[in-house]
């Protein structure tokens, strides 16, 4: 009796809720931390990035107009689906990131908890960031927050699940849509996360995930005139500088990478949410 041959997974991109291959037909070899072949991942092209931006733009009106209550529930639903696949992610993190089983379990738990934490922010960030302004004069004046639009995200290279969740959740919980460039070295958990997103009531196009080379794709996203903001967390210094320069063209909001390795376990604070929020102030006269 011969040994059973395993069914290997084909990892593709995640655009508009679907899983296409790269239009360029390219893929690249993803190896484990020990150097063993894990899978071929899609190598996204400039055209894939463009398609992802168009899709994110199309999803923006619906997602930004969804009630905060609804968005919060959907993020919580993502946490539920992630929890259900805990053991799969543990295995993938062990393979991809070279961490032990116990550490991988902690990281998956932290990722689930991070989603739940952000889910709870959806209907509170506006209260914290908005204001009723006591202007001098007979006017009613309120400032409220609004999402900035389509956000390009260069996900961190390390921490391929917790780091990824930590950069995606704050962008979408506030009503933005995004195009994410996944960790180049360890892209597989990102596509498995996409399977979670695809089955969790998140509208197609709100999160789009590209695997491949950040150095190749990020500059196109940074220079794209229909991208409103860019998170350069995962970009190396040289790439970050050139992306920041390109982002100046349409004055994108830029979240710059902090020096040193990010600690994704600690309390993230509200900075990642507010980086992609605008404040709108509405004035109306008071009188009869």
């Amino acid at each position: 009796m011969s040994e059973r041959v395993g069914v290997r997974k084909t990892y593709k991109l995640f655009i508009g809720g679907a899983f296409p291959r790269s239009e360029s037909g390219r893929s690249y070899v993803v190896s484990s931390s020990k150097g063993e072949f894990l899978a071929n991942a899609s190598k996204a092209s400039r055209k894939d990035a463009r398609e992802a931006v168009a899709t994110a733009r199309k999803a923006f009106p619906g997602w930004s107009a969804a009630t905060a209550y609804n968005r919060g529930q959907i993020l919580y639903r993502v946490a539920e689906m992630l929890e259900g696949r805990r053991s799969q992610f543990v295995t993938e993190l062990v393979d991809a990131d070279g961490v032990g089983v116990r550490r991988a379990g902690e990281l998956v738990d932290a990722a689930v908890d991070r989603l739940v934490w952000y889910a709870g922010w959806s209907d509170k960030i506006g209260t914290i960031r908005g204001s009723a302004n006591p202007v001098a004069g007979p006017y009613f004046n309120l400032s409220s927050t609004e999402p900035t639009g389509v956000v390009a995200v260069v996900a961190p290279e390390a921490d391929p699940l917790l780091g990824l969740i930590s950069v995606i959740a704050p962008v979408i919980v506030t009503g933005n849509t995004c195009v994410v460039v996944a960790s180049e070295r360890a892209p597989l958990p990102s596509i498995t996360l996409a399977e979670v997103l695809a089955t969790s009531d998140l509208p197609g196009g709100v999160v789009n995930i590209l695997t491949g080379s950040a150095a190749e794709i990020a500059p196109w996203l940074a220079g794209h005139m229909d991208v409103n903001a860019i998170d350069l967390t995962g970009a190396e210094l040289e790439l970050a500088v050139s992306c920041e320069q390109a982002a100046a063209e349409n004055l994108k909001r830029v979240l710059r990478p902090a020096p040193g390795k990010a600690d994704w376990i600690t309390d993230p604070g509200t900075g990642r949410m507010t980086a992609f929020l605008e404040t709108k102030t509405v004035w109306h006269p008071i009188g009869i």
Binding site: R129, P134, G137, S143, E244, A248, W283, H284, P285
Partner: protein
């Protein structure tokens, strides 16, 4: 119409020196460079004073002074910092008349505006932020927010003293020190403010004023020891600044251009709307980044509204900025006048119809009459580019959805106006307009407690209110 006798404000109250140095470390110092610029009265082309052009080495001196003062100023209890800022607010009120005259002389804006709008707001900003200095732990940025360090601030010529207040008041309240560069055509009130800092006994180096043009500003924002860059001005310069600070980790706020839609629905109170439209585009000669330069009027009332608007424009008085009857003053510079002319000519060339009221233009100085373009298409340059002058482009719409579509059809997103008596329509519009400020049934209102700033290419960050503190805190 009644004739008005001229009622000019006296210039005797002010004392302009023939030439000015730089204000560094609490002292007037001579610039290291040889450069000099002249600032002129745009209403008469008379030279008012000669100002220094700060070189890179001068900027460096100012930044070093600010850096040294930072240790003192940031360590001072907030309650003590507050008192200095309150002092400044009071001195501004005491010297308000003098500052208003100086502002109108150097900028060309009507004294009615500098006296009744700019100066009260300038004092109000210092009062407002003075109060924050010892209450920062309540501002919502955590229990012990910290200042950033040295702020490099570059401000425009349209509201010289008001923009100075918007920049300096929150910076000082948060414990930062500043180096500020006023515009080369309107430096005089900033230089007068330097004297106010001395009268207030502000510790030396907390506020430094360097004069000069674009190169001085560039040197300031690029300076490696500047932790925070704040700029108000054109989108093009904003882009350059964003590029130049790439990779530096300086915190940046940019308040840039606009092409605001002022949207009038058929159920609006039309007389009120006419006043709002006039205020929206002809206030400060249209030299306002949030000016309502695109009038979107519902087709059913377009004829009636335009007729009323033209009638109202015929009552505006253009002329001597120091005359208390003047509504429209001088264009700030020859260069700006040339730009307004170029874009207006393009409007005509592209097929829009131009109208101005009969209006005598003084022989000397830089002047442009209030102008309306009708028959404007969205593709026309006058509907797309910021003119920064008293030029209104009129477009029409039929449905609210079309109004939203047209209003948002611009790379800018600073402000918008909505005129309707129906509250639900107003809120529906306000939530769909991609703009940082929406004025409903009013326009061009400002207050220190109210955050101001743009979406899209109108820049990032907010000034004013609790939100305005964030730009000067390490959060």
């Amino acid at each position: 119409m009644f004739e008005y006798a001229p009622a000019p404000e006296s210039r005797d109250i002010i004392d302009i020196k023939p030439s000015y140095g730089l204000f560094i470390n609490g002292e007037w110092v001579e610039p290291l460079g040889e450069g000099r610029e002249k600032t002129v009265n745009p209403a008469s082309e008379e030279v008012l004073a000669e100002i220094a052009v700060a070189s890179e080495a001068d900027v460096d001196r100012a930044v070093q002074a600010a850096r040294k003062a930072f240790t003192v100023w940031s360590a001072m209890p907030g309650s003590e910092r507050a008192k200095y800022i309150f002092r400044i607010a009071r001195i501004i009120q005491e010297r308000a008349r003098e500052l208003a005259v100086l502002e109108s002389l150097d900028n060309g804006k009507p004294i009615r505006e500098s006296r009744d709008v700019d100066l009260p707001l300038v004092a109000a900003h210092f009062f407002y932020y003075a109060g924050w200095a010892d209450k920062l732990s309540h501002a919502g940025f955590g229990p012990s927010p910290r200042p950033l360090g040295v702020a490099g601030q570059v401000i425009p010529w349209n509201f010289p003293l008001l923009m100075l207040a918007w920049k300096i008041a929150p910076a000082l309240a948060c414990g930062n020190t500043v180096v500020l560069k006023p515009a080369e055509t309107t430096p005089l009130t900033a230089l007068a403010f330097a004297e106010i800092c001395r009268q207030a006994d502000l510790p030396p180096g907390v506020v430094n004023i360097v004069t000069g043009a674009g190169e001085t500003g560039g040197a300031l924002v690029r300076h490696p020891d500047v932790d925070k860059v704040a700029f108000t001005g054109s989108t093009e310069v904003g882009r350059q600044i964003a590029r130049s600070v790439a990779g530096s980790r300086k915190k940046v706020t940019l308040e840039l251009g606009g092409k605001a839609a002022n949207i009038v629905f058929e159920d609006a109170a039309l007389d009120q709307a006419v006043e709002g439209i006039v205020n929206g585009i002809f206030f400060n000669q249209g030299h306002v980044c949030c000016a309502g330069s695109r009038l979107l009027v519902q087709e059913s009332v377009a004829g009636e509204l335009l007729e009323a608007l033209k009638r109202r424009l015929s009552t505006l008085r253009l002329g001597d900025p120091l005359d208390k009857n003047t509504d429209i003053g001088a264009i700030n510079s020859a260069a700006q006048l040339a730009r307004i002319r170029e874009l207006s000519d393009a409007g005509e060339a592209e097929g829009a119809e131009r109208w101005s009221p009969a209006c005598p233009i003084p022989d000397k100085g830089f002047w442009f009459p209030p102008t309306i373009f009708t028959g404007v298409a969205q593709s026309h340059r006058i509907a797309r580019e910021e003119i920064f002058g008293p030029v209104l482009s009129v477009l029409t719409f039929r449905t609210p959805a079309e109004a939203v579509e047209k209003a948002n059809n611009t790379p800018y997103g600073l402000s918008a106006g909505v005129w309707t008596e129906k509250g639900s329509l107003m809120l529906w519009m306000a939530s769909r307009l991609r703009a940082g400020v929406v004025w409903s049934n009013t326009f061009n209102k400002f207050d220190p407690t109210s955050p101001f700033g743009g979406y899209k290419e109108s820049g990032y960050g907010r000034e004013g209110g609790r939100q305005g503190l964030e730009a000067y805190l390490d959060v």
